[in-house]
């Protein structure tokens, strides 16, 4: 094991374990007011009159009329307002805030607000959106965005094919369910607004404030507080809370705290996109895949949000870890009158890898091939081209990973020798997957333009200035490790605080498994500059992102290197199913990853185990449906996440001799990878146990029962 991988105690440990870490809701400032959001209860309607009762002294209403700048959330498309003005497009869309000193009085005021609506015909599913001829939500089409890319010559491949296998897979919503609900605190003082909060991306929040307020940057400051988990849910969404609270603080002249309760949080915050993914694979006589057509559809909700970029990652992952010469891939993100789908750990990857891994197994089944060998025969190798034709120049260890996971789990042996029992069905499934590290395409160069800064002080302390946030993933520890190890100084000499836009440069959002690989590498490079000048008493160095030599990306045609680099994984899941209740009992998860060099093996283990369990929830027990546009499972009593009792033993191995040359100490990205591959391995285990083809997740007992009582599908 590399020295940097040796675990150390986290720097945020003492505060957190002792209850002394101050999360947003723990802060009470003198004169602080509370805010609560009044939300639409219609999926699609014109807003008529809003009847506000006369307010007691010290209470305020904040709505779109209080926005001095632009009433549009800055993301990708300019379609989402901070506060609805004329129309509402989903249940939970914010209309106004009630602000004041007493939470009970705020609730009483909200109870007596009357809102008249003129209901409009809502679009509530991908299917309904597809059928719609007019009265669209976004422009003159039922989707926000449509992408297409191709590789090779699919028409030729079709002509040469002997077999065609078609499949359609479906995935559901997933809620991030960070334990700390969304929360911000806005303080307006000395003509400056400061927003503190539970946020993943301080500079996204700053951009939202700039746009809503129309103020110069020097009057706006964003500070991250200890954050109780994010998983993507605090990527783009907190911009809305931040602007709401800021407007309230500016209007009242007092600090304003805006903390959602759990139900409100689930109803209105972003979710993982439901998706429908269709495959048509063309094979030759020997069972070699000649080409493949893929069609992906996601349910994006009422506003475009990050759906375009999520869709990009989905379609760029949809052909899996396999080398396919001829491809046609299409994707659309549909507009529906539901809460906005958005960023969630994996960002399109979990949907894509569920679908492709199910499809690969199904092809093998149809053609009577061994699914393990069939996959292996198509594995990507070094110097192959990706689905977008980019040459994969670094070593790919899929064969080694397959060998390792088979040895750990006994997959191949068990697969063909499952015990037979009248009261238990046994199954085992496997998956192979990757996650593209960093922003899609040349986004790191064109959109993010990451900058990091290091400062050396007279006492030889070195301070890290980056905008990367500590979400629990360990950034306050791992980046210190990179700097200490690069400078050969004791780690206690390295200083690193939660980011503050007043002092931290924009090193990009804390997303896309990019923090270690991109920001960490820039810090390592800064250290090289610092070492040369070390004798100077006090100075600063900074570095800007440089696009790696040898990569290229055509963002219109989707040709070239879709990601700067990939991390790789293999999962095996074992299940036992009670044939009467159809409850799935997960008996074990095995995992092998190639993430380059781990920066602190304990932190890596934490990311892996947490991600696996989140992925397990996605595959089976985390059910979130909507009815009439309304979230059915809107609290923790009926939206179920795994507890300590639901988690099977996890065995994990890291490939430790394949460092990534452009990463810090050889590290690749990790954060999202573990959540990506569990659901397909689980679903294939269930499929193996019940002998019926699975087409969707989550795998509810009801769905499994329905399959078990259905006729064979072929």
């Amino acid at each position: 094991m590399d020295r940097i991988s040796t675990p150390i105690k986290r720097f945020d440990f003492d505060d957190k374990i002792s209850g002394q870490a101050r999360y947003c809701a723990d802060i009470i400032l003198p004169g602080m007011l509370y805010a609560r959001t009044v939300r639409a209860d219609r999926p699609r309607a014109r807003i008529g009159a809003i009847g506000i009762p006369s307010l007691p002294s010290g209470y305020y209403i904040i709505d779109h009329r209080d926005i001095p700048g632009k009433n549009t959330v800055p993301i990708v498309y300019d379609d989402q307002p901070f506060f609805a003005r004329d129309t509402v497009n989903y249940i939970g869309e914010p209309l106004l805030l009630v602000v004041g000193p007493d939470k009970e009085v705020i609730l009483q005021i909200i109870d007596s607000i009357r809102i008249d609506y003129l209901d409009l015909d809502p679009i509530l599913s991908i299917e309904a959106a597809d059928k719609r001829q007019d009265d669209f939500i976004f422009g003159d089409q039922p989707w926000f965005v449509e992408y297409h890319y191709s590789k090779g010559d699919l028409e030729q491949a079709i002509q040469n094919a002997c077999h065609v296998v078609e499949d359609e897979y479906e995935t559901g919503y997933q809620e991030q369910l960070y334990l700390e609900p969304q929360s911000v605190l806005a303080v307006f003082a000395d003509e400056q607004i400061t927003v503190y909060g539970s946020i993943q991306c301080p500079y996204y929040v700053e951009e939202a404030l700039l746009q809503a307020l129309g103020w110069p940057q020097d009057r706006i400051r964003v500070v991250q507080l200890p954050t109780g988990g994010g998983f993507g849910g605090k990527e783009e969404f907190p911009s809305i809370l931040a602007v709401h609270a800021a407007l309230a603080s500016i209007k009242t002249g007092q600090p304003v705290q805006l903390v959602y309760d759990r139900q409100e949080d689930i109803i209105c915050s972003t979710k993982r996109h439901p998706a429908v993914i269709k495959y048509k694979s063309y094979l030759d006589q020997e069972g070699h895949i000649l080409g493949r057509r893929i069609e992906c559809k996601t349910d994006a909700g009422a506003y475009a949000g990050l759906s375009s970029v999520v869709l990009q990652r989905l379609i760029l992952s949809a052909s899996g870890v396999y080398n396919i010469d001829n491809l046609e891939v299409n994707g659309r993100a549909y507009a529906t009158n539901k809460m906005v789908s958005g960023a969630f750990r994996g960002f399109g990857g979990p949907q894509a890898f569920f679908a492709i891994e199910m499809h690969m197994e199904n092809i093998a089944r149809r053609l009577n091939l061994d699914p393990w060998q069939f996959r292996q025969k198509h594995f990507l190798h070094q110097d192959d081209t990706s689905s977008t034709g980019g040459i994969l120049k670094n070593d790919i260890r899929l064969d080694q990973m397959a060998g390792e996971i088979d040895a750990m789990s006994g997959y191949r042996l068990k697969r063909h020798n499952q015990p037979q029992s009248p009261d238990k069905l046994f199954g085992i499934g496997c998956s192979f997957f990757f996650h593209g590290c960093g922003f899609t395409g040349s986004g790191e160069r064109d959109l993010i333009k990451s900058r990091v800064r290091l400062r050396k002080y007279r006492d030889n302390k070195v301070q890290i200035f980056v905008s990367s946030t500590e979400l629990g993933q360990g950034v306050l520890t791992t980046l210190r490790k990179i700097v200490a190890e690069s400078l050969h100084i004791p780690i206690d000499q390295v200083v690193h605080y939660y980011p503050d836009t007043a002092s931290s440069p924009d090193s990009g959002p804390t997303v896309a498994s990019r923090t270690i690989m991109i920001v960490g590498r820039l810090l390592q490079d800064c250290c090289e500059d610092m070492k040369v000048r070390w004798e100077e008493p006090e100075f600063e160095v900074f570095r800007d992102y440089k696009y790696p030599v040898g990569l290229s990306w055509d963002k219109e045609k989707f040709v070239g290197h879709a990601y700067p680099e990939y991390s790789w994984g293999a999962n095996v899941v074992e299940v036992e199913i009670d044939p009467l209740t159809c409850v799935v009992d997960v008996k074990g998860i095995y995992a092998v990853y190639d993430i380059g060099t781990p920066i602190d093996i304990k932190i890596v283990q934490g990311q892996i185990e947490g991600g696996l369990v989140q992925g397990l929830g996605y595959g089976c027990i985390e059910i979130l449906n909507t009815a009439g546009g309304k979230v059915v499972q809107n609290n923790l009593t009926n939206y179920i996440i795994p507890t300590a009792m639901d988690c099977p033993p996890i065995k994990c191995k890291i490939i430790d001799d394949n460092p990534y040359p452009d990463g810090p100490f050889g590290a690749r990205g990790l954060g999202e990878l573990p959540v990506v591959g569990v659901a397909p391995a689980l679903a294939l285990a269930v499929q193996n146990a019940i002998g019926k083809k699975i087409n969707k997740i989550p795998l509810t007992p009801e769905y499994i029962m329905e399959l078990m009582h259905s006729a064979d599908d072929d």
Partner: protein, 158 residues
Amino acid sequence: MQMTIEFELNGQPQVITTNPLRRLVDVLRDDFQLTGTKEGCGEGECGACGVLLDKQLVNSCLLPVGAIEGKKLITIEGFRNTKRFDIIQQSFAQAGSVQCGFCTPAMIMAAEALLSVNPNPSESDIRAGLSGNLCRCTGYGMIVEAILTASREGEGLW
């Protein structure tokens, strides 16, 4: 409606006059500024508001403050000054059991509640003991491991 309520909080006698129907979590956080007790769901599902009431783990978001009359209440702010806490925190540090930290104080209270009735728990005892406390970051394994270690290292303390 106001009521005078006497109870012991982290070893100190307290007398408060308040609406007895107020949630204990609000009294702890708002009146006593004991913010180590977190609110994650407000309906007794996530366990982040867990405190010890006469040594029993309870969800303070479900408990009206009137129900603590005459009882002994321990929050993380009281428990963190004990030897048992030292052992638990050392084992949490070693196992890497803390990520976002929001569930952590109540996880510690759950560990204490378990170890005080079962000083040598099995892995499945621990999983059952933590089953009322949700964690979204760790997948629980590293927390379970820490409590196993604590029960070994703290031999005789519980």
